[in-house]
């Protein structure tokens, strides 16, 4: 007798997909290589401290206060090595070198600087910045502000504190950029896996007539869609677990291997996998041309990965980009992985992410089942 849902038929689709996957895992390996390369390259390229930037100095004053400034600059050069001071005699030449890119910034100690300091006559030091590079500009401004603050400190502290200082308490150890990237890389590995397994391979199978073979059997729409979703999710879970383990070892996130954390990570991997494959299937359910998933791979990656907060905080986005982030399952996945991997918190922090991802998966699955055509 015909029945609405037979798990054996669904599992036949899962079995076929997984057998095929284990016979030709090259594509899935490629799915993991991309996020790993991104993690290693971006993790090392970004988030590092500026070292040995070129700072031109023009000294128009030979007084003791001017010497203090130069000594402070030499101290930075010797310790933090943020910049390397290069003395110029001609101010115009120094500014020209900043413009040409020979120098990253310039510092001008004006004539009578020392006298102005002693006379409390608003002494100033000029900082010439190449503000086409925001990151270098911010670094120089930050470094010079600290240097000037240090120079402004009185030799003898007044008995009554006149300036309020902010004391920062960091809840977690210092997070290197590679660690910050790891949650996004795990989600990206799962996304690439469903893009290949649920997008490219699904449409290729359709184009080769594999689905035509399925459609002449008594399998129902729901069994077929569920089978393809479960198979895709299992492959994505594999990619997620492998990236979590390898990525944690590379980035040095030891907390991943604590049993409780690993359990929460597994929950996130499972819910993310189902959300991603259901989303991909919903997008591909009526597509027949094998070129389409390949063509939209890059667009989807940009549209879903970058607004998720994986590489830059969502709070910094304009409203329209925040709206994308709000519905993007990537955002919830990345948030959940960050909570567990970087903060070591559990269900209390990730339950909204798990709820959203699971609900998203269910809604997308229902919609794609409704849209799936059981005819050619």
């Amino acid at each position: 007798m015909a029945s609405f849902f037979q798990s054996a038929r669904m599992m036949a689709i899962v079995e076929r997909d997984l057998r095929k996957f284990f016979r030709s895992p090259a594509l899935m390996m490629a799915a993991m290589v991309f996020p790993l390369v991104q993690l290693i390259v971006l993790g090392n390229a970004f988030g590092g401290k500026i070292r040995d930037a070129k700072l031109g100095i023009v000294i128009h004053d030979n007084g003791p206060q001017s010497i203090r400034v130069v000594e402070a600059l030499r101290a930075v050069q010797s310790n933090a090595r943020t910049f390397e001071p290069i003395v110029y005699t001609d101010e115009k030449e120094m500014v020209a070198d900043v413009r040409k890119g020979n120098l990253n910034a310039g510092l001008v100690i004006p004539p009578q600087f020392s006298r102005d300091v002693y006379e409390h006559a608003r002494p100033r030091i000029g900082l010439v910045l190449d503000n086409t590079d925001n990151f270098l500009t911010a670094t120089f401004e930050d470094e010079m502000t600290q240097l000037v603050e240090a120079l402004n400190q009185p030799d003898v502290q007044p008995r009554v504190v006149q300036q309020i200082a902010l004391q920062t308490v960091e809840l977690y150890p210092y997070i290197e950029y590679m660690k910050y990237l790891l949650p996004g890389s795990i989600a990206l590995a799962m996304f690439v896996s469903v893009m290949i397994g649920g997008g490219i391979v699904y449409i290729d199978d359709k184009a080769r007539g594999v689905h035509e073979g399925y459609l002449v059997t008594p399998i129902t729409k729901m069994e077929l869609v569920a089978g393809l979703n479960v198979a895709g999710a299992l492959k994505a879970m594999g990619a997620g677990v492998v990236l979590t383990v390898i990525g944690s070892l590379i980035a040095g996130v030891g907390s991943s291997f604590q049993p409780a954390n690993f359990f929460w990570l597994l929950l996130l991997i499972v819910s993310t996998s189902f959300a991603f494959i259901a989303m991909m299937f919903l997008m591909m359910v009526r597509v027949n041309d094998p070129l389409i998933p390949r063509a939209i791979f890059g667009i989807l990656n940009t549209l879903l990965y970058f607004p998720s907060g994986a590489i830059y905080p969502v709070q910094a986005f304009p409203k329209w980009l925040q709206a994308i982030a709000w519905v993007d399952p990537f955002t919830y996945s990345v948030h959940g992985f960050k909570a567990v991997l970087l903060k070591g918190v559990g269900l209390a922090a990730i339950w909204p992410d798990l709820l959203y991802l699971s609900s998203f998966a269910v809604v997308a699955f229902v919609l794609s089942t409704l849209l799936f055509k059981r005819t050619l």
């Binding site: 015909a2 037979q6 054996a8 038929r9 599992m11 036949a12 689709i13 079995e15 076929r16 057998r19 095929k20 016979r23 030709s24 080769r208 007539g209 594999v210 035509e212 073979g213 399925y214 459609l215 002449v216 059997t217 008594p218 399998i219 009526r286 597509v287 027949n288 041309d289 070129l291 389409i292 055509k373 005819t375 050619l376």
Partner: protein, 333 residues
């Protein structure tokens, strides 16, 4: 004498894609145990017809009944009693022969206890036992087609649909597949509906043939009756060197000639009731008129002639008639 049971009934079936009518009011019956051929060029509507009967395409109007089940109203029941071999090789190249059959056994809900014996029996039937553990991609075209045939039989269907099963195969493999289909039909008491554009295949295999052109059924009968239905029992194809004006009229006056069809390049196709006599007359007439004969062939009427008679064209003339473009997104199809 009782009329044989109808295994397939197609009543005034129509398939439209927008303004284009792919199948236009086709009706026919297929008796139980019969091998029924749908003959026609690519784009004639044969595959559309078979896809409607096998629930792969929605029917615009009309009815198709398989073993008494309306494919529109009860597609699931219809699917259980039919085995379908699509035109494309759809077996999974990365999976072994056994795995391909096992997956389909599960899709048809064959009980685990029966599965192994059923697959073993099928492999023997299609002569693939020694290849059971070979990946399907390593099989030759003919072997792969035999695997597809086995796959369509895993649930012991009573009706077997084959959509151009020998397309793309070499002549030796084609003959092997024909023999296999004939044997399987006998052993499993199947009703077979087969589409093809190979005339010899249809002539050899089919009990009855329906000729389809531009989505319409133009003729339906046994191969013998179809050949007898057209004027002339023999066909003479003759090519001349620079025949004089009015040569076609001269040929029409030869002994026994029913019709003459010019085919271009001074080639003429002469249908006659008396092949030997007409041939002799044709040669003598050419000699008398000092017209050089470049080539001459005489043969009995074939299904190709039947096709030309009913459609007015050679089958090969419109092998590329199929629509080339299909939208990548099947919105509202």
């Amino acid at each position: 004498m009782t009329e044989p049971q109808k295994a397939i009934q197609v009543i005034d079936i129509v398939k439209r894609y927008g303004n284009f009518t792919a199948v236009d009011g086709v009706s026919f019956d297929v008796a139980e145990g019969e091998i029924f051929g749908l003959l026609g060029p690519n784009g004639a509507g044969k595959s559309t017809l078979i896809r409607m009967m096998t629930t792969l395409l929605e029917i615009t109007s009309g009815t198709a009944m398989v073993e008494g089940s309306d494919v529109r109203k009860d597609p699931d029941k219809a699917r259980r009693c039919m085995g379908v071999i699509p035109q494309a090789m759809t077996s999974d190249g990365d999976l072994t022969v056994w795995e391909n059959l096992s997956i389909y056994s599960k899709l048809y809900g064959i009980a685990a206890a029966d599965r192994e014996n059923s697959i073993k029996e099928l492999l023997e039937l299609v002569d693939l036992t020694q290849w059971r553990d070979a990946p399907a991609k390593n099989l030759s075209g003919g072997m792969r087609r035999r695997l597809e045939i086995a796959r369509g039989l895993v649930h012991r269907p009573r009706i077997f649909f084959l959509d151009e099963p020998t397309t793309g195969l070499d002549p030796v493999s084609r003959v092997a597949v024909w023999e296999m289909i004939g044997n399987i039909k006998q052993k499993r008491h199947l009703t077979v509906l087969i589409t093809t554009h190979y005339m010899d295949e249809a002539d050899r295999l089919c009990d009855r043939i329906a000729i389809v052109d531009h989505g319409k059924l133009v003729a339906l009968d046994t191969p013998r009756a179809l050949k007898a239905s057209i004027p002339g029992s023999s066909v003479i194809e003759a090519q001349f060197l620079n025949p004089p004006p009015g040569w076609e009229e001269t040929l029409k006056k030869l002994a026994g000639v029913n019709s003459v069809q010019p085919e271009g390049a001074d080639m003429y196709r002469v249908l006659t009731d008396d092949g030997p006599h007409t041939t002799t007359d044709l040669v003598e007439t050419a000699v008398r008129a000092s017209v050089l004969l470049k080539s001459l062939t005489v043969q009995s009427t074939t299904l190709d002639d039947v096709f030309v008679h009913y459609t007015g064209r050679q089958l090969r003339d419109h092998l590329a008639d199929a629509p080339l473009y299909q939208s990548p997104v099947a919105w509202g199809k």
